[in-house]
Amino acid sequence: MLKKWSAAVLSGLLVVGALSACGGESDDAGSGKKDDGKITMGFAQVGAESGWRTANTKSIQEAAAAAGIELKFSDAQQKQENQIKAIRSYIAQKVDIIAFSPVVESGWDTVLKEAKDAKIPVILTDRAIDSKDTTLYKTFIGSDFVVEGKKAGEWLVKEYAGKTDTVNLVELQGTTGSAPANDRKSGFADVIKADPKFKVIASQTGDFTRAKGKEVMEAFLKANPKIDVLYAHNDDMGLGAIEAIEAAGKKPGVDIKIITVDAVKDGMTALAAGKINYIVECSPLLGPQLMDLAKKVLNGETIPQRVLTVESAFTPEQAKTELPNRKY
């Protein structure tokens, strides 16, 4: 008897709940803004693992302030569980829009469905997710890491054009499982696989940090007597590797050619000094573009599923002229 009663009450509640949910939708269809008219954005950052990331954070914070958007910011310290927690708390706080830069590519479906059910639009910044359901997010703004990897590979092919000797490559990968690590690796591999003289003899993760980059490079140098080129997925690992190469009595940039991605200030300084040979830029300054997109989404405008940030690549000569302008 009691069971029947409670079932009836529950189903009644469910109907009411469903109705009110529908009502809520028709009320603010097209504009997720609250009564005060001010947009609140929840941003879940990866961490502060590199100078690049800090510049990215600054750009987003400054752009939010300039656009009059209230920013709730959280730092996940490179852990997916922290980021999921942050997104859940933004959903609970009923922010207008959520933006985040996923630590790893997979495992986001559940939490993003929660956001979708709460009718909070999501924008991905700088890193993509690996999900079949593209309705889970409105757009993805950021660099194309595959293109970055390709640019690095193209420079290498040009640099060694006309030579037939085997070129021994070592690779320092980013954090295992992260989009930049996966894509920079595959983009680079796609370009160099056309020529059998390029051989990747060792490839390990350096977690995007200098300390790990140095430690791994030290081991590479001992295990492989002949290394011609180092491809590091970011500047910081490259800078760590430079220390290891110097400690081994070799000249970085000459004995071992170095290609990195990012173009942060420290990296550009090393490039200008000739210790790095080529840097593919990955611009972190996407704050203004992000705020612009957020406003468009909340106004119900249609936006493309993929927005690219503007970026280039540098040789040592170009680095010398560009260096004074680098803020990060």
């Binding site: 490839s203 993760t205 430690e215 220390e243």
Partner: protein
């Protein structure tokens, strides 16, 4: 022979030798140590250099664990010490001035001591559970380090500071000399005086020790201060090695590696008996494992699994109960190994 097998560091030593020998199959010149640019150069030297900071952190951790405590904040102290030293040095007019660098190093170590006092105060005086008391600094300390570096990586260019982590003295890596020095001094103080016995007594039963007239509060405070100091020195080494301070990544998860080193070394997490030599061996094993992964070329996707398997094998090899079962199932095993179980107390 039986005495060697019975020694509690026998199995860890076997694993270390196995790891080292594995490397030779993948890099023929693995054991080659040469003299290059006025210093020793080779994979074995790399392992020792990489083990120095971890060994120091684990050394401090050993004494803390001996008193029945634990210090989770060492990773944060590593980051803070490196950050403060690099910040001070980056502000110098001449980054190569020795006095300026010494001042920065002194200041960073002083702060590490103070952080150790804070942990010790919370545990010994306020009486908070060690895991909670040090968790506070573990979380807050990371933030503090980021506050010092302003979220940026501070890059410096100071040759005296670089000596600490990447320099050589008489051809030997200075960081290894420092770590061995600290370990020897700590070992002498602990084992040549009654201090070690008192620490084990506090770890065994703090209340009984107090009733027996041992000032357990002071002892507990001292071990946390020592752990803070060790972590501070390790922090200087880590940041000096790459001439930069990374508030977010320096010493990340080093507390877990340090605890693992202590356990591999045969010190019980329950407190009481401890072994400094075992801890140092444990730290060297962990770093050898890391470098083996790079040399062998294990794909990054399975690195963690590989590490886990080695650690599990190591722990099982050390567990007397497991070995006992293993031996019973093999009746052909020599009977002389049977009394082994009585000797093994730890693990």
């Amino acid at each position: 022979m039986a005495a060697i097998i019975k020694h509690r560091l026998f199995w860890p030593a076997v694993i270390l030798v196995v790891l080292l020998v594995t490397n030779v199959f993948f890099s023929g010149s693995f054991f080659k140590v040469e003299f290059r640019d006025g210093h020793l150069y080779g994979s074995v030297i790399d392992i020792l250099r990489a083990s120095a900071p971890l060994g120091l952190v684990a050394l401090g951790m050993t004494l803390v664990i001996a008193t029945g405590g634990i210090d989770l904040s060492v990773g944060a102290v590593v980051a803070i010490a490196g950050a403060l030293a690099c910040l001070r040095i980056s502000g110098l007019d001449d980054q190569n001035s020795v006095t300026g660098v010494l001042l920065a190093v002194g200041l960073a170590l002083l702060l590490s001591l103070a952080l150790g006092v804070w942990n010790g105060f919370l545990v010994a005086t306020v009486g908070i559970q060690p895991i909670i008391a040090t968790l506070i600094l573990m979380v807050a300390g990371r933030g503090l380090a980021q506050l010092i570096t302003d979220g940026q990586i501070i890059t410096i260019n100071s040759s005296p500071y670089k000596m600490i982590g990447a320099g050589y003295w008489l051809g030997l890596p200075l960081c290894v000399i420092i770590a061995v020095g600290v370990a020897v001094v700590a070992g002498l103080i602990v084992r040549r005086s009654a201090l070690g016995l008192l620490l084990e007594s506090v770890g065994g039963n703090a209340e009984a020790s107090r009733l027996a007239g041992i000032k357990s509060r002071w002892l507990i405070l001292i071990v946390y201060v020592f752990a803070g100091l060790c972590a501070g020195i390790a922090g200087l080494m880590i940041s000096s090695n790459v001439s930069s301070a990374d508030g977010n990544n320096a010493g990340l998860l080093i507390e877990l590696d340090a605890i693992l080193a202590v356990v591999i070394g045969g010190t019980s997490l329950a407190g009481g008996r401890f072994s400094i030599a075992g801890t140092i061996l444990g730290a060297v094993i962990i770093k050898t494992l890391d470098i083996t992964i790079y040399t062998v070329g294990i794909p990054p996707e399975v690195t963690l699994l590989f590490k886990a398997v080695v650690v599990v094998v190591l722990c099982l090899a050390q567990a007397p109960k497991f070995r006992e079962k293993f031996q019973r199932r093999r009746p052909s095993a020599p009977a002389t190994q049977a009394p082994q179980q009585k000797v093994e107390v730890t693990a």
